[in-house]
Symmetry: C2
Subunit: 128 residues, 2 copies
């Protein structure tokens, strides 16, 4: 599953670009028809789901990749996002990618939003 | 990725047994050293994480398998659990399996617990 494949190449490039904050490189891998879904965001623009990226990267201590599995037209990464001690959340995350014509057509990000809801409730208004 | 493999066979058998409520068949696929983790449960017994299964099955309308990807020693399923209208939750779920010696050594279930927290808060005391 870790042999070279176009799906792997695209997904890994996106993953690296995003976690280094390189929004243009990440967005360049997104296809024309695109749908992003997470517990907090639904977006169909190539960059819309990356709007809050700087804030997230600011509280990430490290990202621990646990599994990467690639099919012919989709892929799923499983990773733990370890946040800085001040936040104190280890966010178990699964990210499912669907690809079409060599670019990313859909991303579904799955994680438990409950710990973040508690932090946001304490901090003030929650995002829409 | 959908060709026959021992990993696929074991994971699919577990998935089918669990969603038909066949706890003994599901538990028989679990290895001696086992760890289950979800937003609500951490358990190392082969059946402990299946204790509330009947209750869950009682509110499931249907399970929609979105992706199944298999590696040499692990697998990830992505599926939507559509609950009955009275509950009204579509639970996007990722389930990561690690296998050892032909049996399941670890399951990490990832989903957003926030909608359930809201329902449980309305219903009464939450589980530990």
């Amino acid at each position: 599953m870790t042999t070279e494949s176009p799906v792997r190449e695209t997904v890994r490039a996106y993953y690296e670009a995003r976690f280094t904050g390189d929004v243009p490189s990440a967005a360049a891998l997104i296809g024309d028809d695109f749908l992003f879904r997470s517990p907090f965001i639904t977006s169909d623009s190539p960059e819309g789901h990356l709007d809050g990226l700087d804030g997230l990267l600011g509280v990430i201590d490290r990202v621990e990749l646990i599994s990467e599995l690639y099919g012919e037209g989709d892929a799923t990464l499983v990773y733990d996002i370890h946040t800085v001690p001040a936040v104190g959340i280890t966010q178990r995350t699964a990210e499912h990618f669907r690809l079409q014509g060599g670019r990313i057509a859909a991303i579904t990000l799955i994680f438990d939003s409950a710990p973040w809801q508690a932090i946001m409730a304490a901090a003030g208004p929650t995002p829409a």
